[in-house]
């Protein structure tokens, strides 16, 4: 029965496997653990706000003593660093270059140091309250007041710790980038092309809701006006970070408009999300590019008048080629082709770096395995299921309207955070 039972059980199972909570077990690694207090919401499994609230309040990770210990080490390292930088800046004989460098680093640490001093103040307050309580064990009024304040202060301390921990977790530097969306019809012929169009428009509507800019880069239409291939450039705040989990195979089960007998077909569409990059990011050299344009027989130039301004750019070393034809000028087609090419090269480079890192990281979601089946849109049953977090949402039409995609995206973001926590604690152990 739908999302509630499925998703909760599943997320819980996943967290438990990552962070075993049995305190009696001696065998689970080096003692790092996080306990999640999970409070399922009472009703309405398909409420769109469900996962948002889920990720903020009901699911407040309680950090284990071990994580806190690791974090404390990091925090004091930051405090040290910041103190010595401050020291350097105060020295009159510091060279302007040193001064500038120290200042820059300090600015970068500022968010953390601000949070740390808040945390320290809170901890001092907690110590004070504890002292007060031990000294006023006879005064009941005082005791109950102090207890209440202590409770609040400890809550606040936890909140700050969670916040700090989040800021210490490694971030994907590409999260803030804009992205290129590519949708390609897979198996299933014309029906797959029609679904590719639906999916493409779903992202367009979702982008509009988010206030992002959605620009069509190129469309190849099928005979029935579906899309064999479609791409778009999406820009706005944190676009890549939000959409990166959409890469993979999206499967559809429905009765195609072309199907007379009413039989349900299964077809598939592949989606790729690439962070946008520029020529500098990928160190593109002019001599590595071959640019071809449409040539209308004959001599070209003043001889010919054609509205065909298609451009194909080939990156010779990698063999990657991008062709764009939809813009009305050759220059614009070229600019778009270059944009897509840079995104592809950048993604390749990221993939290379990533797979040379630990296995754990390359297994993370969002690492761009395009062949993985990630989601099924079942129209007869009116549901959408994401196979990675095993969440089912019972309003397929809303999803196609770009409405409730956040149900999945938020869960995937949460999962990403969990993965980061795992590697945070394990990286400190060895």
């Amino acid at each position: 029965m739908g999302m509630r039972s499925h998703s909760w059980r599943n997320l819980l199972k996943r967290f438990q496997s990552v962070f075993p909570t049995n305190p009696n077990s001696k065998s689970y690694g080096n003692g790092s653990s996080i306990v999640f207090i999970i409070v399922p919401p009472p009703i309405a499994a398909s409420s769109p706000s469900f996962l948002r609230s889920f990720s903020s309040t009901e699911l407040q990770p309680q950090l284990s003593a071990n994580i806190i210990r690791i974090m404390e080490q990091r925090l004091s390292a930051i405090e040290h660093r910041s103190a010595s930088l401050q020291n350097l800046i105060n020295q009159p004989e510091a060279s302007p270059a040193d001064y500038a460098r120290a200042n820059k680093e300090l600015r970068k640490l500022r968010t953390s140091t601000d949070l740390i001093s808040k945390l320290r103040a809170k901890q001092k307050e907690i110590d004070g309250l504890k002292l007060l309580m031990s000294e006023s064990s006879e005064d009941n009024d005082m005791l109950s007041m102090a207890t209440e304040e202590l409770g609040q202060a400890i809550e606040e301390e936890k909140r700050l710790q969670n916040f700090l921990l989040k800021s210490l977790l490694p971030k994907d530097a590409a999260d803030e980038r804009d992205c290129i969306l590519e949708v390609r019809a897979g198996t299933g012929g014309e029906e797959a092309s029609l679904f590719a169009m639906d999916i493409f428009k779903m992202y367009e509507k979702y982008s509009q809701k988010k206030g992002w800019k959605f620009e069509v880069v190129d469309l190849t239409e099928s005979d029935l006006k579906g899309y064999k291939e479609a791409s778009a450039a999406i820009s706005g705040a944190d676009v890549y970070g939000k959409l990166k989990f959409e890469s993979g195979i999206h499967r559809v089960q429905r009765v195609p408009v072309t199907e007379k007998s009413g039989r349900v077909h299964t077809s598939a569409v592949s989606v790729a999300i690439l962070p946008q990059a520029d020529e500098v990011d990928v160190q593109l050299r002019n001599e590595d590019l071959r640019i071809d344009t449409y040539r209308s027989g004959g001599s070209g130039g003043q001889h010919a008048n054609t509205t065909n301004s298609a451009v194909r750019i080939t990156h010779i070393p990698s063999g990657i080629a991008v062709a764009i034809q939809d813009e009305r000028s050759q220059h614009m087609n070229k600019a778009k082709a270059l944009k897509v090419l840079c995104a592809k090269l950048y993604e390749m480079e990221r993939f290379r770096i990533q797979s040379s890192r630990s296995k754990l990281r390359s297994e993370q979601i969002g690492s761009g395995d395009r062949s993985e089946r990630i989601r099924t849109y079942n129209f007869p049953q009116g549901r959408v299921t994401d196979h990675r977090v095993n969440i089912t949402h019972h309003a397929v039409n809303d999803v196609m309207e770009g409405e409730n995609l956040d149900v999945f995206i938020d869960a995937l973001l949460l999962q990403q955070e969990m993965d980061a926590l795992t590697s945070f604690s394990s990286s400190q152990q060895n």
Partner: protein, 381 residues
Amino acid sequence: MRLSFTIGHGVPKFSLFLRPTLSRHLHRPIYSSSTLPSPTSQNPQTPLFLRPPTHRATFSDLRKWQNWAKTLALSVGSSFVDMDNGPDSTLLCRELKWLIEDVTEDGSISETLHNEEPERTVRLRVGLEELYKLWKQRIEERRPFQYIVGCEHWRDLILCVQEGVLIPRPETEKIVDLVGDLFSDNQGLREGLWADLGTGSGAIAIGIGMILRNSGRVIATDLSLLALEVATFNVQRYGLQVSAGRGKKRAVFLFSDVIQLRQGSWFEPLKDVEGKLAGIVSNPPYIPSDHISGLQAEVGRHEPRLALDGGVIGMNDLLHLCKGAASMLHSGGFFVFETNGEQQCKFLVEYMETEAGDNFYNVNIVPDFAGVPRFVTGFRK
């Protein structure tokens, strides 16, 4: 005797700025097809996409027109391709989509036309009747698409064009790239005075002007008055000339102008800047006279001969430009000329390296993106 030269020497130098109301005329909306100026009129026409959406049609009627137009486009098949390298059905269908984009108030409607409520009305920039007429002209008369919509998308610009003015070609975009690349490591040239000879719609001058912005200046010339009027419209639309029409002759740039327009034959209107130019760019007529009759219908039947015909071997104007370049450029100055292809390129390189005296260095042939040797470039010693 070529038309261009008879006119070129007979007509006194004309100043565009005699008519201060020109720019107001340019922006005056044209409300119905009956007031459309005839193609021979000297008034620039407003391109479709800039006209006010004062006409209406129901979606069902617009769709009917679209279906009719599409059927017409499909009936062409590859017959134009076989005939004279003209457009095929696929290309014509894409043009149809762009026409709908330009003519409807909300251009993106071309995507969803078939899903709209049939009885709803849509605002159009010309009447339906006119649309039937325009598409008929496109297919039956082979009237160029760019003249139908009144504009050409070129680089990142949208340039107004009309009969009597050459439609800028995609190959020519590269001239601006070549000049732009030069600027990135030669600040001196960037701050200099440039000339675009035979500017037509103003394409190259505007492309360069957009890069120069507040550093250098461009003088754009043409023999054709109509071309100059259209170029003025385009230059002003891109804010590269703010102050049209002050005084009869303006030999000096006003502070805010990046581009100045002058009428006359090749170097003739540039006597005051002899030896002072940082760069000369030109895409002069280069088609051999006896090729004109065999050209693709869109070109041969509709574009101005003055813009295409380069004399017996197509090199009259190119050679004239090459001859004059040495005295017009200052030392270190740059030139780039577009040509008909390999033969003309080789001929010009040979000429610049030998007969033009010992005046040039780094004379090169640069291919266009289709791989055809297209441009000759070089520097004044």
